[in-house]
Symmetry: none
Subunit: 239 residues, 2 copies
């Protein structure tokens, strides 16, 4: 893929910086330039556009840029260049530890950003390495990941303890996304019995899943109830 077709994500809360960088990049024929002004927007943009190169300001209104970097690494291996006003060595080293690849201090010459970007992207060749290797045992949802192979649940970038039965139920849902499953089906598939005497066990476990993955477990958006039919795990929750 030609360098200029690479996708660039610019993350900064200062409009002036975003506009300046975007202008310079456009002048250099970079056509796929996206912007975000908050950490949350950035995470959405990463999942939506899958950028090859990310310019990331350390100081964001909602998230520390380093923490954001850690979260971004759940979705992409793209090159991350930090923008920072700080010159503390500890902060610089922290950025590298958190999975960053480079940093530039403010105020900066936008041509330097472009030069660094070009130096990096030139080496990428045509092998689009920024995409994650598809793995059907790792299920990605907004805000959490169910990793069957590792036996792990990751919520907002954090490994979340999950008892075995709860996890197995969640795995079963993840293997049947957007599909309504009755309590009987769940009990048979996950518990292994042919007959379900009482459905409370399943409901309690559903509650336990929701406590881990839902913003508000009492108003679920991921693992929703379909009254009279069962439950389903929704890939992209409605807004």
């Amino acid at each position: 893929m030609r360098m200029e077709n690479r996708k660039i994500l610019l993350v900064d809360d200062e409009q002036a910086i975003l506009q300046m960088l975007k202008m310079v990049l456009t002048k250099e024929k970079f056509m796929n330039v996206y912007t975000a002004e908050t950490g949350e927007e950035a995470l959405h943009a990463v999942q939506k556009y899958k950028p090859d190169f990310i310019v990331l300001d350390v100081m964001l209104p909602d998230l520390n840029g380093f923490e954001l970097c850690t979260k971004i690494r759940m979705y992409t291996d793209a090159h991350i260049l930090f923008l920072t006003a700080r010159v503390s060595d500890l902060d610089i080293l922290t950025g590298f530890e958190k999975g960053g690849d480079d940093y530039v201090t403010k105020p900066f010459n936008p041509l330097e950003i472009v030069a660094r970007m070009k130096a990096h992207l030139k080496r990428k060749g045509t092998s689009d390495a920024a995409s994650p290797i598809p793995n059907d045992k790792v299920h990605h949802f907004g805000g959490f990941i169910v990793n069957e192979e590792a036996g792990e649940l990751i919520v907002d970038g954090v490994v979340t303890p999950c008892p075995a039965q709860v996890f197995l139920l969640l795995v079963h849902f993840s293997q049947n996304v957007n599909r309504v499953l009755s309590k009987e089906q769940l009990f048979t598939a996950v518990w292994g019995y042919d007959y379900m005497a009482d459905d409370n066990t399943v409901m309690v476990h559903i509650r336990r899943i929701r406590e881990r993955i839902e913003p508000n477990p009492s108003k679920p958006v991921h693992l929703v109830t379909v009254r009279g039919l069962g439950y389903k795990l929704v890939k992209e929750p409605a807004r």
Copy 2:
């Protein structure tokens, strides 16, 4: 190839800088560190050692660092990080144009050089055509190595005695890194029986592995328990 086996070339006419960087790199377990004090020496070193990463001072007695960079590019595609006292934007951009990948201004923190180096080399993975064919029978973990071919376990650089069954179990884990394996799976794969009457045999062997590879066998970070599901050998233990 492991990061620490990468070849580093340091080019600067100041002995103090060369010695300081070499000391820091050696402390970080980089064993193949070469130095050159002139452009001519650098060119020779590039051809002789074929370094993966080059730290290159702009001000050299015989050659301008940028011109040297252009010459070096005839022989290698290694990552080139410029050291420069100049802060002129024009010089910085010149460096990138001449084929440089990065730059750091003097005076600098040597740990930043190492951090940048690691950030870059970490991405190189094992795909280095000039290196011997990667050997998937030798498994490297933080603090220990499982060598199937030699039938050896090496912990903190020391060959560690390991009974056969314990070793075979560890090999099986090493072939399934970051993958949770149940006690039944382990018993079937390593012991060769289809049915496991009692799981205590496996647990005792797990304990024996942990006694060899874990800093604290009772609080394992490498071979971790996934309660209700089994065990997994983690490549990079969580901090």
